[in-house]
């Protein structure tokens, strides 16, 4: 019986031709991660000191194949369209690897000096990043789902990494419950999509959905469920309630990781789904995204105004920023290229500036042992370098030229204006008002650092380890560079024909 089955399979099965060059970043990285596991198993406790450096190298190594692929420039499609390597995917992968590298820099001292499991942390971190990198190329429901779980499950664990802290446990549990709930919704939506189209490939789904008889409610239901699932992941209002508690409770480097990389991965998936899979049903996607975007930026900003803890403030600001990133989706049919460019550009710049802000939070907390905004008081007096760097990051988050954030906001504005519809313009005005509101809470931190006195007159200097200095330097450099010469990103995002071409009728 089995023999006949096997014979049948082997006669019908054609092994896919593998383009190893296209897969090289993932293969390199997976090999490095496996190596890390081996080091941990063989060296046990002695391996702890090696882990940060090794995982840093593991994150930088795949940049080489990414570079060669970028120089080669050709778009590569594998597994019948389930896995696509184009310029955007490469840019996103590079962003993920570099963000991961910065997170390692942020974690090194924090973990070594606290009561943490160390080696395992880096294994979780790298595994999660592997999921994100795969996500950048995934154009297939199953691949997307596997990537999503691969990136989420280690992240749930990392949120609880501070074992004996109640808050950290609360953070992990909340994140986990919300995460699996979202996954369930998403899976239900995906199963409906598969039922409708008979395929898991996004291109097939897109083609099927775009057909005339697809206005059935079941399609709308499937789209809404999938988008809502990812709305949890990117913490868009009203699916954001887990984020502030999780961010505050989790160890701060993990928070940085969740706020930047994990969120970006959610957006990447949304990008593929919306632009490739759901492009035929923008009548469902656009209003939904409009509401999510407007609600996220408004609610996120208004609540952020009242925060006294800087991590919670950054969490709510992240919710508002998620609204900004969602905004281009609301006009995707009228300005497809601009919307795509806007989302990708925003993600890259957001990664740099937000990681930088967390780096300073971690550095300052080393001295003050506090996450309160008031603990930043008088920082300018005793740590001018950190103050200037934090000013750069916060001003960039607020969108003040000539720092990266302005260009990120600008391309979103441009996408909204290009659409030329009342919906686009109204969302642009909502966003303009919101970016003013947002400045206020960033200014509260600026005020504390520049204008206030140090609490208890404690002006002893902050000891900043080398890893944090290099993390700050990397992110600040990127933030300023993207602001002054945004054209640097243009090389990648300018050639979006690859992904646009697969849009049905696009």
């Amino acid at each position: 019986m089995i023999a006949t089955l096997l014979a049948q399979v082997s006669s019908t099965f054609e092994p896919p031709t593998l383009d190893f060059h296209a897969l090289a970043p993932e293969i390199t990285f997976a090999a490095c991660v496996a190596l890390l596991y081996l080091v941990d198993m063989i060296k046990l406790e002695d391996g702890r000191r090696l882990m940060p450096g090794l995982s840093g190298l593991a994150l930088l190594a795949p940049l080489i194949p990414i570079m060669t692929l970028a120089l080669d420039g050709a778009d590569r499609t594998l597994f019948g369209g389930a896995f696509v390597v184009d310029n955007v995917a490469l840019l996103l992968k590079a962003t993920f690897f570099l963000s991961g590298y910065v997170v390692v820099l942020l974690s090194t001292n924090h973990l070594a000096e606290g009561d943490f499991w160390e080696s395992e942390y880096y294994l979780m971190l790298t595994s999660s990043l592997l999921g994100m990198v795969v996500m950048s190329s995934a154009r297939d429901l199953v691949t997307i789902f596997v990537a999503l779980e691969l990136l989420s499950i280690p992240a749930y664990l990392m949120a609880t990494w501070e074992k004996r802290s109640l808050r950290s446990n609360e953070a992990g549990l909340k994140y986990y419950l919300m995460g699996v709930f979202a996954s369930a919704l998403m899976l239900y939506g995906m199963s409906l999509l598969f039922g409708i189209s008979g395929s898991t490939l996004l291109t097939d789904i897109g083609a099927r959905i775009a057909e005339g008889n697809s206005s059935t409610p079941i399609v709308s239901l499937a789209i809404v469920l999938v988008i809502v699932g990812f709305a949890f992941k990117v913490s868009a209002v009203p699916f954001h309630s887990w984020a502030p508690d999780t961010y505050e409770g989790a160890p701060t480097p993990v928070t940085a990781f969740l706020a930047v990389a994990s969120k970006a991965a959610g957006f990447v998936a949304l990008l593929q789904l919306a632009f490739v899979g759901f492009a035929g049903r923008t009548d469902v996607v656009e209003p939904l995204m409009w509401v999510l975007a407007a609600a996220s930026m408004t609610v996120g900003n208004l609540i952020a105004l009242r925060q006294t803890n800087i991590v919670r403030m950054l969490a709510y600001s992240g919710i508002a920023q998620a609204g900004f990133i969602l905004a281009p989706f609301a006009v995707m049919s009228d300005s497809a290229t601009e919307s795509l460019t806007a989302v990708v550009t925003y993600l890259v710049i957001y990664a740099a500036m937000n990681l930088g802000a967390f780096a300073i939070v971690i550095a300052v907390a080393r001295k003050t042992q506090s996450g309160e905004i008031s603990s930043f008081g008088g920082l300018f007096g005793y740590a001018p370098g950190l103050t200037v760097a934090m000013t750069v990051f916060l001003a960039s988050l607020a969108g003040i030229p000539p720092l990266g954030g302005w260009f990120a906001k600008f391309v979103v504005f441009k996408a909204l204006a290009t659409a030329g519809t009342p919906w686009g313009y109204s969302l642009a005005v909502v966003m303009a008002v919101n970016s003013v509101v947002a400045f206020y809470y960033y200014a509260l931190v600026l005020k504390a650092m520049w204008f206030d006195e140090a609490p208890y007159g404690d002006t002893s200097p902050v000891r900043v380890p080398v890893s944090l200095i290099s993390a700050t330097g990397l992110t600040a450099g990127a933030t300023i560079l993207f602001g002054v010469f945004p054209g640097l990103l243009g090389h990648f995002t300018g050639s979006l024909e690859g992904i646009i071409a697969v849009l049905p009728g696009g």
Binding site: T341, F380, P384, V388, T391, A395, I400, P401, P402, W406, F407, F410, V411, F413, K414, L416, A417, T418, G420, Y425, A428, V429, A432, V433, S435, V436, F439, Y440, A443, L446, K447, W450, F451, F485, P486, G487, L489, G490, T493, G494
Partner: protein, 510 residues
């Protein structure tokens, strides 16, 4: 030489202060003298460039962009690094280059608490780049970037070195301006998209808007966004409330720069961007702008009469003076806009000077409350006389620069551009003329109460130092400038008339 100036004459002075700021960041905080010298030397080199530009400027074709540079910058959004200077921008660029070194000289031994010359001068240097960049930019996005660059340094300057209410004043300043510029950028983008011009170049956009029939209602809306951006910066009534707070709380140097240059970014934006690109919408808006301008004139003057604090009084007088500038612009005539630009320069010099004097009085008496001051002419006669001369200039006495900003602006309202309601503008003219009477009243009253009579009891026996050396060096050029411009207004009118006439003719066909 000319070749060098054509290629680098604007780029170097614009970015040199920024380079100096970076250099100063690397110099230790303790070496205060080095910081002062680097900052002063930089601003002087920039000023030398200003002189060179002036000498090599071709006054026969002021309407053309000179020393222009146009290279690629952000290709994906079609924004280019386009800079250049014509007769409209030149006076303001020179004003900026003139004022900043004087501010640094004035600061030499007068750094406000909490001292820290390093940070203070770095902020001034960044401001310098932002201000010059805004005036030379010929690309909307480039303009926007420079326009925003000035915000943070001024925010910190007010917030760190300011007075009692500094935190409130600094955040208010920032949020007001940011709100305006957020709507402004939406307008810029709407222009970009609706014209389909695929460029942010100001001149080309103006041509495209003229060539394409964009619905008037849309143009009016886009103009509205720009109006918010520039009008808040001017500031126009009813968006002026940030100004008295910012001016009162800012350190002297901050007030001077704010009055002399930053407010001009708003009015300059109207003349450079809003009017030429959207002339049809400007005609729709002009009556309202004129209305807000005359309200500002009267309201500012009445506000002045009610003030008890000298600095706050000067701040309200700024609202009134900028009202004249906006009235000149609202007439949409070459006559009115010439007057407006003259008014910008005159206001920059005169009000800047008033803030200098207010700062020095504060330093001597530790108060600016008018009723506690008095007898300045007895205690510090030189400061007193200069204050007298400056108040005369500020109230628009013929023969001093202030006159040439106000009087022609009022006169221009007699005969506004075609398409505007003549009766309405003549009513504005009468109201604005009444404003000059009020201006004379509040300024003379201010002078009377502070300079005449005997010193008040509490200061009667104190030794009050008359002019310091740094004050001589910083103030005399300002005084000379507004006296010379008052006697020979042709110097400035000749510089800009060609450009203004050309702009008005192209935009309004007048």
């Amino acid at each position: 030489m000319t070749d060098f100036l054509n290629d680098w004459g604007l780029t170097i002075p614009t970015f040199l202060p920024l380079v100096a700021a970076v250099v100063m960041m690397l110099i230790p905080k303790a070496e205060e003298e080095t910081h002062k010298i680097v900052a002063l030397a930089t601003s002087l080199v920039v000023a030398v460039f200003g002189v060179l530009l002036l000498l090599n400027f071709d006054f026969d074709r002021t309407k053309d962009l000179q020393f222009a540079v146009d290279i690629g910058w952000i290709d994906i959004i079609r924004s280019r690094f386009t800079i250049g200077v014509d007769g409209i921008a030149l006076p303001l660029i020179l004003l900026t280059m003139f004022v900043v070194p004087l501010v640094i000289i004035y600061s030499w031994n007068h750094f406000p608490e909490p001292h820290n010359p390093k940070a203070f001068l770095i902020l001034i240097m960044i401001l310098h780049t932002g201000m010059l960049g805004s005036f030379v930019a010929q690309d909307l996005i480039l303009f926007f970037v420079f326009f925003e660059v000035v915000l943070l340094p001024m925010y910190f300057m007010i917030g760190v070195w300011g007075g009692e209410q500094r935190q409130y004043a600094s955040i208010k300043f920032f949020l007001y301006t940011l709100f305006g510029s957020a709507l402004m950028i939406v307008s810029f983008l709407a222009l970009f998209v609706l014209t389909g011009a695929e460029t942010f170049n100001m001149v080309q956009l103006a041509e495209q808007v003229a060539a394409r029939e964009i619905a008037l209602s849309t143009q009016v809306l886009i103009f509205g966004g720009m109006f918010m951006g520039f009008g808040i910066k001017v500031p126009m009534f009813p968006f002026h409330t940030w100004l008295p707070d910012a001016h009162t709380q800012a350190p002297t140097q901050g007030s001077v720069i704010l009055a002399a240059v930053l407010l001009k970014l708003g009015t300059y934006g109207f003349v450079r961007i809003a009017l030429p690109i959207l002339p049809d919408a400007a005609i729709e808006w002009a009556p309202w702008i004129g209305l807000l301008a005359v309200i500002g004139i009267i309201y500012g003057a009445l506000g002045c009469l009610a003030q008890t604090d000298m600095k706050r009084l000067i701040a309200f007088s700024s609202v009134a003076h900028m009202g004249y500038v906006m009235l000149g612009i609202a007439t949409l005539t070459d006559f009115g806009i010439n007057a407006a630009i003259f008014g910008m320069v005159a206001h920059g010099l005169i009000t800047g000077m008033l803030f200098f004097i207010a700062g020095s009085i504060k330093e001597r008496f530790h108060t600016l409350e008018i009723k506690r001051l008095g007898g300045l002419l007895k205690q510090a006669p030189r400061v007193g006389w200069i204050l007298g001369l400056t108040t005369m200039a500020s109230l628009g006495l013929p023969g001093l620069a202030g006159f040439w900003g106000e009087f022609p602006a009022i006169l221009a309202a007699y005969n506004p551009a075609e398409g505007l309601n003549v009766t309405l503008f003549r009513v504005y003219m009468v109201i604005a003329a009444l404003g000059t009477v009020l201006a004379a009243a509040y300024l003379l009253w201010l002078y009377q109460r502070t300079a005449f009579g005997e010193p008040k009891e509490e200061f009667a026996h104190e030794h009050v130092h008359d002019m310091h050396v740094t004050e001589w060096i910083a103030w005399i050029p300002m005084v000379i400038a507004f006296v010379v411009l008052g006697l020979m207004p042709g110097l400035l009118f000749g510089m800009m008339d060609g450009a203004v006439t050309n702009m008005v003719r192209t935009a309004f066909g007048g």
